[in-house]
C-alpha cells in the first residue's frame, strides 16, 4: 500500500498552523509555563497517526499536541485547555504537558520516558479487551536513556504486545547533544531487547508512512512490538523562548548576559588549570555553534514544505485545501479567544 499525500498533507499543515497559533498566544502571555511544540516532527506524527483505527491508543510525551490534533481531538478543546479554560479538553486543569482524551485513548506525560510504560499498558489492555488494536509510544531520543522506557521495550518484547515505539530523534535533549549522552546505537539497543528496529527519515512522510505501515500490521496481527527510529528537526528548538536559540538568533540581545559572567568565571582565580577551563569553554561554544549551524533553517529539514512540493502537481486543489484549513483554524482560534473566560 502507498501513502496518500492528499490525506497526509492536510494533517501536517493543520498541525503546523495550529501550533503556530499556539506559539503566538504563548508569546502574548496567554499560555503559561513551558511550551514544547511539535513543529518539525509532523511527518512522523502524521505517518503514524493517519494509520490508527478505532480503539488504538497513544501514549504521548511533552510534545503531544500534534498527535492529538491529527487523531481527531477538537482543536477548540485543545486550545481552551492551553488557555486554562474550564471548557478545555481537561477542564483547563491539565495544561500542555498533560493533555488527555479518554475517547481517543490518548494520554500525555511530562515525565521523560513515561510513554514507554503507558503504551505497554495500553497494549496489554488492547490484547485483552480489543484484539487487533494497538498502542503507540511517542518519545524523543533522549528518553531512550530513561530506565522505564528501556524496561518497557523488554516487557513489550517478552509479552509480544502490539506496540509501536516511535522515537522522534532530533539529536537534542534540551541543551544536550544526545550523541554525547548515549552509548551504542538506538537500533542496537532495541535489538538487545529482541525488538526489531526500523530506521527512517522522519522528515519524509511517505517513508515514515511505509515503515510504520508494516510495523502496525505486525502489531495488529500479534507479531509484537517494533522500534521506529525517525530523524527530525525541532524548528523551535526545545521549547518556546529556548535560551540557546535566542542566544544564536539574537546574539546582541542575549549574549552579553551570558558572556560576561562566563568570562569572569573563566578568569577567576581558584579552580582548574587552564587546559580544563578551556575545555569547559569549548564545550559551551560547541553547543552554541551546533545550535547555530543546526539544520533548522534548511528548508529540506522541514517536513511540511517537503510534502507540499509533491502536491504542486495540482496547484489549484492544493491552494483550495490550504485556504480551507487556514480558514478553519482562524475561526477556531477566534472563537476560543472571543469567549468570555470563566
Amino acid at each position: 500500500m502507498a501513502p496518500d499525500l492528499w490525506t497526509l498533507y492536510p494533517l501536517m499543515l493543520r498541525s503546523r498552523l495550529f501550533e503556530q497559533a499556539i506559539a503566538d498566544l504563548w508569546r502574548d502571555g496567554l499560555i503559561s509555563g513551558e511550551m514544547h511544540l511539535g513543529t518539525g516532527e509532523e511527518a512522523i506524527i502524521a505517518g503514524v497517526v493517519s494509520q490508527l483505527q478505532d480503539g488504538d491508543a497513544m501514549a504521548l510525551d511533552h510534545r503531544g499536541t500534534a498527535a492529538l490534533l491529527m487523531r481527531g481531538v477538537d482543536p477548540g478543546l485543545i486550545l481552551r485547555e492551553l488557555l486554562g479554560r474550564a471548557t478545555g479538553l481537561c477542564g483547563g486543569v491539565g495544561g500542555h504537558m498533560h493533555l488527555f482524551s479518554r475517547d481517543h485513548l490518548a494520554a500525555s506525560s511530562g515525565i521523560v520516558g513515561a510513554s514507554g510504560p503507558a503504551a505497554t499498558g495500553f497494549a496489554l489492555a488492547a490484547q485483552a479487551l480489543r484484539p487487533g488494536t494497538i498502542a503507540i509510544a511517542f518519545f524523543g531520543e533522549g528518553a531512550m536513556n530513561q530506565g522505564m522506557l528501556m524496561e518497557s521495550l523488554n516487557l513489550a518484547s517478552v509479552w509480544a504486545l502490539p506496540v509501536v515505539f516511535v522515537c522522534k530523534d532530533d539529536g537534542w535533549a534540551i541543551t544536550t547533544q544526545s550523541a554525547s549522552a548515549t552509548g551504542g546505537s538506538l537500533s542496537d539497543r532495541a535489538h538487545g531487547f529482541g525488538v526489531p528496529a526500523v530506521e527512517v527519515d522522519g522528515r519524509d512522510v511517505s517513508k515514515v508512512w511505509s515503515a510504520v505501515h508494516s510495523a502496525i500490521e505486525r502489531a495488529r496481527s500479534g507479531g509484537g512490538p517494533t522500534f521506529l527510529h525517525a530523524q527530525c528537526v525541532h524548528l523551535e528548538g526545545h521549547f518556546m523562548g529556548f535560551q540557546l536559540l535566542r542566544s544564536v538568533r539574537d546574539p546582541l540581545g542575549q549574549v552579553p548576559a551570558i558572556a560576561l559572567p562566563l568570562t569572569q568565571s573563566f578568569l577567576r582565580p581558584g579552580g582548574a588549570p587552564l587546559r580544563e577551563r578551556v575545555a569547559g569553554l569549548m564545550h559551551v561554544a560547541g553547543v552554541m555553534r551546533a545550535t547555530q549551524h543546526d539544520p533548522r533553517q534548511d528548508l529540506a529539514n522541514d517536513p511540511v514544505p517537503r510534502v507540499r512540493q509533491a502536491l504542486l502537481v495540482d496547484p489549484e486543489r492544493l491552494l483550495a485545501l490550504e485556504d480551507r484549513i487556514a480558514g478553519e483554524l482562524v475561526e477556531i482560534v477566534a472563537s476560543a479567544l472571543g469567549e468570555v473566560s470563566p
Binding site: 491508543a57 510504560p117 518497557s152
Partner: protein, 316 residues
C-alpha cells in the same frame, strides 16, 4: 463461615472477583508461582509473570487500568516501590485531576510490607504513611483475614489507584517464604487473630476509609493499622490490669481516613489518643516509621541460642 489465613483470604476474594469480572488481571514478578492457584483457574493471560522491571510493569498497570482493565500489580515488597514511585506519584495519583475528572486509573498495587522476621531495612519498611502522603492514592492496611478479603474486593471496585499492603507478620505465606523457609527452628511473634480467622463464604466489599472500633474503653484510645492493631489490643489488655480502659481503633485505611470517628462522643470522652503504629517519628499513622531510615537489627536483641521470637516494631 470458613477459616482462612490472611493471604489466603486476599487470594480468595481476588479469585471470587476474577470469576465474575474478566477485566481483572494480575501480574508481577513470580506471580505465576506465588498465585499459582489463580493461574490454574484463570490462565496465563490473566495471571502473568513479569521481568524485574517495576517501573515498566507498574506504569503499564496504571495505563492498562485507564484503558479498561482492572490490573492487580504485585510488587515483591513495598520497599521496592522506590524504583517505580513515578508511576504512583506522577501518574496513578494525578491522572484524574489532569484529565479534569474524565479519566481514572483503577489499579490495585498489592505488596507485602513491614517486618519482624529479620530481613533488614530494605525489606521491612511499612511505608504506608509515606504513601498516604501522596494525595490521590488510597492506602489500605488490613489487620485480619476477613478485613483483608473485604478490602481487596473494595479495592477492585474502587475507581482510582489503591495501594493494598499485607503486613508480613500477619501472613503465614510470606513468613514461610521469606522468614522460616521450612526450618522449624524459628517462630515469630504473630498475633493469632490476625493471621487466621473466620471469613464469609462469599465476599462483600468493605467500605474504604471507614475505621472500626476493636475495643471499647473510656480512658484512652489507641489508633493503629495492620499488625499494630493486635499489639494495641495486647497493650489494652495490659492497661486494663492497671485499671486503664482503652479503646482500640483500627483505621484499616490510612488514606482516606476521613470517616475517623475522632469527633464522636465516645472517643471525645477518652483522655488521650496515642497512635500505635510501626514507630512514628513524624506524623503518627502517616509515618513510615524508623525502619525507613534504620536497618532493623535482625537478631540483635535475642540471645544467640534463641529463635526469632521478638518483633522489633522499629523494623517495620
Amino acid at each position: 463461615m470458613r477459616t482462612l489465613s490472611f493471604t489466603q483470604a486476599v487470594d480468595d476474594a481476588l479469585a471470587q472477583a476474577m470469576a465474575v469480572d474478566s477485566r481483572i488481571v494480575v501480574f508481577g514478578e513470580d506471580v505465576p508461582l506465588l498465585r499459582r492457584d489463580l493461574l490454574v483457574r484463570f490462565g496465563p493471560e490473566r495471571v502473568r509473570g513479569t521481568p524485574i522491571s517495576e517501573s515498566a510493569f507498574l506504569g503499564a498497570g496504571v495505563a492498562a487500568a485507564m484503558a479498561g482493565l482492572r490490573p492487580v500489580v504485585e510488587v515483591y515488597m513495598a520497599d521496592f516501590l522506590g524504583v517505580c514511585m513515578d508511576a504512583l506519584l506522577n501518574h496513578a495519583a494525578k491522572v484524574e485531576a489532569f484529565s479534569g475528572g474524565n479519566w481514572t486509573a483503577p489499579v490495585v498495587v498489592r505488596a507485602p510490607c513491614g517486618g519482624g522476621y529479620g530481613d533488614g531495612g530494605q525489606h521491612e519498611q511499612a511505608l504506608w504513611g509515606w504513601l498516604a502522603h501522596i494525595p490521590g492514592l488510597t492506602v489500605l492496611v488490613p489487620s485480619t483475614p476477613t478485613d483483608a478479603g473485604g478490602l481487596m474486593l473494595a479495592a477492585l471496585q474502587h475507581d482510582g489507584p489503591v495501594i493494598f499492603l499485607e503486613h508480613k507478620l500477619l501472613s503465614e505465606t510470606y513468613l514461610e517464604l521469606l522468614g522460616s523457609g521450612g526450618r522449624p527452628t524459628v517462630q515469630y511473634d504473630v498475633p493469632a487473630a490476625g493471621t487466621k480467622g473466620p471469613v464469609p463464604r462469599s465476599w462483600a466489599p468493605l467500605p474504604i476509609g471507614k475505621a472500626v472500633l476493636r475495643r471499647q474503653g473510656h480512658d484512652a484510645t489507641i489508633i493503629s493499622v495492620g499488625v499494630g492493631v493486635h499489639r494495641a489490643l495486647e497493650a489494652a489488655r495490659v492497661l486494663e490490669t492497671e485499671g486503664i480502659l482503652a479503646s482500640v481503633l483500627d483505621l484499616r485505611s490510612v488514606s482516606p481516613a476521613r470517616r475517623l470517628p475522632f469527633r464522636t462522643p465516645d472517643t471525645l470522652r477518652t483522655r488521650r489518643s496515642p497512635v500505635e503504629t510501626a514507630s512514628a517519628p513524624r506524623c503518627g499513622a502517616c509515618s513510615s516509621g524508623r525502619g525507613a531510615a534504620q536497618a532493623s537489627r535482625p537478631m540483635g536483641s535475642l540471645p544467640s541460642s534463641a529463635a526469632v521470637t521478638s518483633v522489633q516494631e522499629a523494623s517495620t
